[in-house]
Symmetry: C2
């Protein structure tokens, strides 16, 4: 397929808005006499609230209201940003109150103050006295599921949110027939999204007695539903507005602060109230990435064929369910269409602990399983004395593979070409040879890792998206989508799609970046790398409808059949001879003002996408390990992606660079730390958390293998989350290559590396 | 037809918003660091601008910019709120610049200042020096069209904007055959809308380099087009937002301040600028009602049959064309489907003068022609010694009448019943008898007048309206219309229509009262009493589409044919047996989340209405005239309307009360006065203008004759403007009845009455 706009490095449509500071984020909105909300948070990891004394706070001048669980409906709700399911069994775990009567982690929301300004609100918080009944707490999965462990939620007496067993093929048979069986244990730690813009929202009751919530969210339509549920208010009385958003990475795919802000405005007769979390609150009281502990057994034939894999996965979910078991299930699924196992058994268990709640984060469980599996494969390759790449290539599935459980079919499979490009970029063979017998204090090595990932959530969840296009009198259009631009560039991609289909300049497409649930077409939001794939299908459908309406008018004017006509650069042409019929703006003007036929061109459609496409990619990394200090330096890193057709090269590269940077932190430095006895967060700020900075980051190499997937509306597959998945195991494998030491736990920060080296007698 | 909601006195949907002050008008919107714009206005009625010196103003601290015509494109544009016409000959007269290089009335916009606050802006205005070349000025039509008169617009050397001759039948033949010929001259004065909210707007350039105009307008989509034209900016780069509006009455059916506010923001790099006119500016520099001078000749047969009428009408249009000749043409048309003349000849001439510009005002020329015609008919009846009612009844057209020029057909004709009701209400026969020979200082009398009026502008103009409905998950809906609520209650009527068609409570309809041209369905706006009639047709169509989609889902669920199903009170029922199938909210939820069929219910439609309906009505008035002081007191006044089906009794009554109040002012007190030599306005404020207050207003009686017109989507016809039309001639005829003195000029304020009585030797 040849496109005029798609595939080019078109500038972001919001570039100027953002660099000039004109883009309005939720905190840039302003209402006169807006009040400030603040949250009183538990200082204990696990404690019943016996009593709360709010009178001193209430009597402070400038305090408008203080609310606790006693003031709110006793309705448990789920916070996960999933589409609602008509099937009760597929709904998320409802274990939250807006304000709790039992603290389950240090930071749990106990009470809220609404005051005239922030200083008064802070003072008032200190005047609230809470009488706690302190309970034993558990912070890791083993302790949580042990006999006699404290019960975090009464209805889950073993602290297990869910556990499951996924089986493909005959696992026992394959292990029985195996020539070799390998085992390994791999562990990832809790990290955080660290999106630039902290969660914040403001809320008021409007002139029609409806609750309006302006919030920094990935999922405005879901916020609307969940606020309604949490407060027992019909969804039609709630309106959610999503302005510009400064990043989410999954942390804003949960409905965390909005029910509380709605409760706050209701407590003050509908006056506007703003709630802005600070960074410490974001770290402890929004969402984290699940720590997972994998135990893997793999059956291999003597010719190096993978026969079967058995994976046991304990998932630390923290204090509330949030996305619950679905991230563990994602990790159990999305790795499958890559290697050709005859049998697979995955047993994930998702466990409550008294830590901050884990939820969606870029990759949705796959960075964890990829770290475990791709580390494991390198461990096996070494033991088999096989080249790790050849070992993998020897075991890849083939084009046309259909996952027996999900039914997802592989219609494009570019991972081998990705490997080829990656090898060339990093000069694999040359370096492999050069570093083979490296010794001394600074040792270098290369490593790689592969991954597979899905495009959206089908068939697990409903994948629905809406788009509305309105053509102006000059032939320019407005585009409304329910899908949310949160920094990833989706508005630019959608604008390109419309311009491509309509044969107009992208400058003629005014994408409405602000979602407003009252009028924005329904879409479940930004997650699962679904937008280009799922919403893209809706946008294409809408644009084609508009094009058709334009050509119908042109056909009426010129007599030629609609099939003979096309739009090129804003001109209606007769396709065969290339004759110019008239301009698109002529048609647009007529559509508004023709006395006989006036009917302005609009379309308002929804698309229920019932397909998925598997994206692939590899990371190649070269490291230098300082044996004495334990410092790992990534010298070069390349991500090569098969994400189908690349719709905008520049934005795609940006996505990959950001994702790899996140992967570098995951591998090397990032980790949320807690006091082992109290559960108190120890590094919940950007100074101590050790996010990667530009100084830590090597040049990130990016390339693509552009397969054209027939499931993508323009041949595209997912790309948003993908780049985060494979850097950590690639770096880990490079370190193994450099030092012979297998790190089975991340992050590989200097301290852990030093300890491991000591343990392995390297130092 | 029987309705559940329509026809009831449903409360206005914006009642609470308005009484609580939560409704946001343009001046309630706020942008940080908003600048203030002010306009320097001409102090001469007619003067060329030789030079403007702005340096002193520019150097004042806090002044951001000063603009004159030199800074703006030299593009002449029309301000009239009419739909654009593809036919060049049907477009409005383009005679305006945003800032003029020649003053044509006292108040013409010469220059504009943009400053940090209003005080600085006012100071800066005083520092601008204008070097004028003062020209002779003309203030009435006779002077303006006289030989050698000063030329106001170079391309109209005789100062005539347009003149025309409308002919039906053989006028000469009828006059030749007439038994009697009567002549009369009637004159109306310049009045103003006096809407509560003065024109105001604020404008900025948004993050996507588009011009955003938040303005108090009746016609947001037309504002968008005209701003684009005036500044030579593609329409797609302009976005107009209409918030709550505090009245318009036609004064906001012109695009007066918006091109200037757009020019202002462009002069300061897109920073937000607010321009709010004060009341004096509104009086002089927005729009007025045309003064008209009628010369009428009427041919009558000896049995009192009207044979022919010839009307000569000179229309004082003021300095700029605005709606141009179309108001004179309206006055020449809308009276026709009432009395059965065999021949009609109307010769209107619309003339430029150096007075404020006349434009659209409630009734659009018909209050003027109605005053002339209905006064004339009473004059004839007296001369024929006939009862004025019987005389009229004797000459009414019949149901089925089709106007030969417009093709408009009378499908409902309730004026006779209106007269019957009105007579009863005022106790006509009794009072007629009682006051017959009244003498003394205080004399009483009764009078009446009839009118006909159209519903919208078809076939003169395009009548197009759009509506979009989005159904929420709970079965409630959002309704978006391009038609504008400006106080008249249209949002309530549309909500009722949707609730009626969908079988739901009106509380379940969230009408979006703010129009935003980016996303609001196209509609030309609030004028010509078109909204219930024209937009109503679109709303009904949209609601029926939504209902159909709901029933399709229900049919899929229950197997019954869609024709067997209906929605009643939010429940899907089987019509014959009345069985309840499921709730509407069940259907709504499924439409969002059904894995197989999800497709949220929306509709986004446009309706090109190609029909008109003639509404009718009468005013009956009883007056007491104080012979010594010239004070006329209206004791009782009744308006009875045939506006087809009354959609909301309470709102309809409100419309009539407001309209009659406006008619009382028109008859008795309102009049814009100007210095006869300089053209300086003398009473351009609410104290001196003599608007009717509640103390001047008798109890206004309202009643309706509910014909059902097949052209109305629910049997309705126009009502908004109608009540203003006939009070003035009814009062005039009552004064004639009381005193024997025929006032052929309004207002009949004490001074003019006193002078007339003196002239007629009554005192």
């Amino acid at each position: 397929m040849s496109y005029k706009i798609l595939g080019k490095s078109v500038n972001r449509v919001d570039a100027i808005a953002k660099v000039t500071g004109k883009a309005k984020y939720a905190e840039d909105y302003f209402e006169r006499e807006m009040l400030v909300g603040k949250v009183l948070r538990s200082t204990y990891a696990h404690a019943k609230i016996k009593n709360i004394f709010i009178d001193d706070a209430l009597s402070l001048d400038g305090v408008e209201a203080v609310i606790t669980y006693k003031d709110l409906p006793n309705i448990r709700f789920a916070t996960a940003g999933h589409p609602y399911s008509l099937d009760k069994n597929h709904r998320d775990v409802e274990d939250r109150l807006i304000l709790t009567n039992k603290a389950r982690y240090v930071g749990d929301a106990i009470a809220a103050v609404i005051a005239k300004d922030e200083i008064i609100a802070q003072k008032a918080l200190k005047l609230i006295k809470v009488d706690y009944d302190i309970l034993d707490a558990v912070f890791n999965t083993e302790d949580a599921i042990a006999e006699g462990a404290p019960i975090i939620h009464e209805d889950k007496p073993n602290n297990i949110i869910a556990s499951s067993k996924i089986e493909i093929g005959d696992i026992n048979e394959e292990f029985k027939n195996a020539d070799y069986v390998f085992e390994g244990e791999y562990e990832t730690s809790i990290v955080q999204h660290c999106q630039l813009e902290c969660q914040n929202a403001y809320t008021y009751v409007d002139e029609n007695n409806r609750i309006v919530i302006v919030t920094s969210t990935q999922i405005p339509h879901i916020v609307r539903r969940i606020v309604g549920q949490a407060l027992n208010i019909p969804i039609g009385r709630i309106r959610v507005i999503k302005p510009f958003v400064g990043g989410g990475f999954g942390n804003k795919q949960d409905v965390i602060i909005e029910p509380l802000t709605a409760a706050m405005t209701l407590a003050v007769n509908g006056r506007p109230v703003r709630l802005s979390l600070d960074r410490e609150e974001v770290f402890a009281s929004t969402r984290t990435r699940h720590a997972m502990k994998y135990k893997i057994r793999t059956a291999i034939s003597k010719d190096g064929k993978l026969l079967a894999i058995s994976m046991n996965n304990q998932v630390n979910n923290g204090a509330y369910a949030s996305h619950g078991h679905s991230i563990a299930m994602s990790a159990a699924s999305k790795f499958r269409p890559l290697y050709s196992f005859k049998a697979i058994e995955v047993k994930p268990t998702t466990v409550y602990t008294n830590l901050p709640t884990a939820g969606a984060m870029r990759g949705y469980g796959i960075p964890q399983v990829c770290f475990a599996l791709e580390s494991h494969l390198d461990d096996i390759a070494i033991k088999l004395n096989m080249d790790p790449i050849k070992f993998r290539e020897n075991n890849f599935i083939s084009l046309g593979y259909e996952d027996p459980l999900s039914g997802i079919k592989v219609r494009s499979f570019g991972v081998k070409e990705c490997i080829k490009k990656g090898k060339d970029l990093i000069r694999w063979d040359e370096k492999k040879k050069r570093y083979k017998n490296i010794t001394g204090n600074k040792r270098r090595g290369v490593g790689m890792a592969c991954f597979s990932y899905f495009s959206g959530t089908y068939p697990v969840s409903l994948e629905i998206a809406g788009a509305r296009i309105v053509m102006n009198q000059d032939g320019s259009v407005q585009l409304q989508v329910g899908a949310t631009e949160i920094g990833q560039g989706s508005d630019t991609i959608f604008s390109e799609m419309v311009a491509e289909v309509l044969g107009i300049d992208i400058e003629k497409v005014n994408v409405i970046s602000i979602q407003d649930t009252d009028i924005t077409p329904f879409d479940t939001g930004a997650y699962a790398s679904r937008q280009s794939f799922v919403t893209g299908a809706a946008v294409k459908k809408a644009a084609k409808e508009v094009k058709n309406k334009v050509l119908e008018i042109a056909s009426r004017k010129c007599g030629l059949n609609i099939d003979e006509l096309d739009i090129r650069e804003g001109i209606i042409i007769e396709k065969k001879m290339g004759d110019e019929i008239c301009s698109l703006s002529d048609i647009a003007l007529e559509s508004y003002y023709d006395r006989e036929f006036a009917n302005p061109i609009t379309t308002d459609i929804s698309e229920n996408v019932k397909i998925n496409a598997v994206a692939y990619g590899v990371t190649f990394a070269e490291v230098e390990v300082d044996i004495e200090t334990g410092k790992i330096k990534v010298l070069e890193i390349y991500n090569v992606h098969d994400s189908g057709k690349i719709l905008n090269r520049k934005i795609a590269e940006g996505q990959v660079e950001g994702g790899v940077s996140m992967g570098l932190g995951y591998a090397l430095s990032e980790q949320m730390l807690f006091n082992e006895k109290t559960g108190q967060p120890l590094n919940n700020n950007l100074l101590d958390y050790k996010l990667q900075t530009i100084l830590d980051t090597p040049k990130i190499g990016v390339d693509f293998v552009e397969t054209i997937d027939p499931a993508g509306s323009f041949g595209q597959k997912s790309l948003g989350e993908n780049p985060t998945i494979s850097p950590a195991p690639a770096i880990r494998n490079a370190v193994l290559d450099a030092t012979g030491v297998a790190f089975n736990k991340i992050p590989m920060n200097p301290q852990s590396v030093f300890e491991k080296f000591k343990e392995g007698a390297l130092i």
